[in-house]
Amino acid sequence: MAHTVLGDEKMTNVGLARLQFGGTLLYHFLFVPLTIGLGLLIAILETFYYRSHNDVYRKAMQFWMKIYLVNFAVGVVTGIIQEFQFGTNWADFSRFVGDVFGAPLAIETLMAFFLESTFLGVWIFGWEKLSPKVHLFAIWMVALGSAMSAFWILAANSFMQEPVGFVFRHGRTEMVNFFAVLANPQLWLEFPHTLFGAIATGSIFMAAVSSYHLIRHTNDEVFEPSFRIAMIGALIGSVSVFILGHEQAQHLIVAQPMKMAASEALWHTSPIHAPWTIVGTIDTKTHSDPFVLQIPYLLSILAYNRLSGRVTGLLELNHLYQLRYGPGNYMPPIVWTFWAFRTMIFAGTTMMLIAIIGAYLTIKGKRPHWLLVLMEWTLILPYLSNTAGWVMTEVGRQPWAVFGLLKTPNGISPTVSISELWTTVIGYGILYLSIAAAAIYLFLLIIHQGPSQEQGQENEEESSKHGYLLHGHESLRHAKSPVHYDDLH
């Protein structure tokens, strides 16, 4: 049973390759949503600053930028690993789907990643050298770049979930319709779902950190506007994610019924009025769920927007797949998929309810103490649901690497040895953990320090004079304490 990664006592090549890939993906995705969401919020803050010349917005965005940069650095480097792993660890996968799968990845770098990286460099170093308009343009290009990046990556991922626009020829998939790859219905649910998830993550992050400072009254004038903007972002993000998630589940019924059944631990086809299981125990040996707590009708509603409608069970689907694809077990790891789905739903729904209440109070002009404390704790929810979302999407697709076409064990690099795999698994593991420790330390340090006080005071005069920070102002270059947002000396 090569396809239960963490359940294996002895690690196989496939297990190690999967552990490495899944580990990198989940690690990478701890940083990506914040990059996308916070980048957009910083662009919005700079737009406010550009319009109003109010120094508070500049101080705010410079503070958030420090966090953004630490986060961005880790996101980028793990993204590089992700791309190259398709070749190093999944050579046969690359040979099999590279023809279709490679195009979105290549276009991603050319269209999005170059844009994001180049303009980020321009933005950081360009305060003095660019006009306010061009500087503002740069941050919007960064935000646009990371959103487009998500689009192309998910276009590739969507092909793994729901292969379209190809023919099976010469023992591999060959692209015959690029527009079909782009119009993949899976992509048009996955992309907005992920994008709004990222906006929710960035917003809740900003709200949580703002709350931390608002409770302590360290920098109210900076964190008040940040908090308000963040709460609106959290509302838009989390409600959209919820609605899109629902759409996605309905699409799943059609496109990947096995994943849906697994995430419900639904062994047998449901009755006509299908109840939704809140929590339950799963017995994978007897193919039953001995204890379940259920809400009547909800699964039918979830699946079809009406009170009745059957959802096909795992065993029936497995039988069907055996007829179609030959003998074998086509069920993904049920326990993982079931709990990942529940974690995502509960974290996501709670997050949305908090965002609705928080945004309502914020619009009303109220900001009670309990809301601030609550927002601090809410920070864990987007991270939980983002991670669980990917576990469900990727583990739930098993045993397929490319749904219906290529099983995961057939995708690995066949001659890479187990000792090489162990070397890289341990090597990356140590690296990821050390970097995570350093990054968390820096996050806490930056958050604790807050925006630099004296910088702001020095700048107020300048920015009111010039309308924009230091633009065209040469004399400050030689000032004793250089005026800069992330200058820490």
């Binding site: 630490v70 650095a73 690993i81 690359s94 170093f125 890479v416 820096l442 992330d486």
Partner: protein, 336 residues
């Protein structure tokens, strides 16, 4: 025709990566030599500050387009040099976070740790690429399916080690010259001194490597005894660096190492063409630009996208270099 186009485009992307990240790595390698104290080191990092991230994308673009245009090449290439790529990627992780993390804490020890990691992360990639490229030209044991069936020890030999060292030297020189054209004052003087010192060593090792290539590979059979002007010019431009330096024409000296990198990269791929991976076991197992390629439709789509996108990328990257053309001196503001 499309296969040839994509072979050329892949080479262009590799050239972009080696040329641009070449000086990034060089600057990183020279960080402790040119930057003697924390302030100087921050200035040194500022010379590549606005660019290195965008430059690194050239590597990702090379990888992505290889996967899209030549999936079988991409698969064989990356899985064959499995551990080499692990070291490369580990170095890139460390390097990327080191430069972002180092200045966030006002503590000399913290900064020294990240700086030394940055130096390490800048040394490894050129060594790995030299090692890989030497093995590519020489051929490696791959089977009929394109899978590497040898051992790591078969890849490590005098020739590939020499390849690794010579790429490291060339990039270090490239970096020293980049530092010269980006700085004023004492940093400029130090960079110049180092450029003079690295120059002859780099040229010497490069020459030995080229001579060895004639014995170690079947490049003679592939290109003929007269290799044509490109490799010759690659070597001449290396020698020209010294002449430009002595005349005080540092920009031309930088252009010269740039030519060395560009022409050497072209030489390597030209010596392979139309193969992309040579099997040392059986020539009929070689991967070529035809049997490793994506289908014509995919190549067609990719070509159209690239024709639109690549000029735009080149445009704004060039613009970013233009924005930050001013030299860095002791009074420049610091980001890192």
């Amino acid at each position: 025709m499309l296969n040839v186009t994509w072979f050329v485009l892949a080479v262009v992307l590799f050239i972009g990566y080696f040329f641009l990240e070449g000086f990034d790595y060089g600057v990183g390698m020279l960080l402790p030599v040119v930057g003697r104290n924390d302030h100087d080191r921050r200035l040194v990092l500022s010379t590549i500050g606005p660019f290195w991230d965008g430059n690194e994308v050239w590597l990702i673009a090379s990888g992505g387009s290889l996967l899209a245009a030549f999936p079988a090449w991409y698969a064989s290439f990356l899985s064959s040099f499995y551990l080499a790529f692990f070291f490369l990627l580990a170095a890139l992780i460390v390097r990327g976070v080191a430069i972002e993390f180092r200045s966030r804490v006002e503590d000399l020890r913290w900064r020294q740790i990240w700086d030394s990691l940055f130096v390490w992360g800048s040394f490894v990639p050129p060594l790995v690429w030299g090692f890989i490229m030497a093995n590519m030209v020489r051929g490696i044991p791959i089977d009929a399916q394109g899978n590497f069936v040898g051992s790591l020890l078969q890849l490590v030999n005098v020739y590939s080690i020499l390849g690794a060292i010579s790429v490291a030297f060339v990039f270090a020189l490239h970096g020293a010259l980049f530092l010269m054209i980006r700085t004023k004052g004492v940093l400029h003087e130090r960079a110049e001194k180092i450029a003079y010192r690295i120059g002859p060593a780099a040229t010497g090792i490069f020459l030995i490597f080229v001579v060895m290539t004639y014995y170690q590979t079947d490049i003679v059979r592939r290109l003929g005894l007269d290799p044509g002007p490109i490799p010759v010019f690659a070597f001449l431009s290396m020698i020209a660096v010294r002449l430009f330096l002595q005349r005080g024409q540092e920009k031309w000296a930088f252009v010269s190492t740039g030519f060395t990198i560009i022409l050497s990269t072209i030489t390597i791929f030209l010596s392979l063409y139309p193969d992309v991976m040579i099997s040392s076991l059986n020539p009929s197992w070689n991967l070529t630009i035809y049997n490793a390629a994506a289908n014509p439709y995919s190549l067609h789509v990719m070509t159209i996208m690239t024709i639109f996108l690549l000029p735009i990328v080149l445009g704004y990257q060039a613009w970013s270099y233009w924005v930050f053309r001013k030299r860095i001196d002791q009074h420049s503001k610091l980001e890192y």
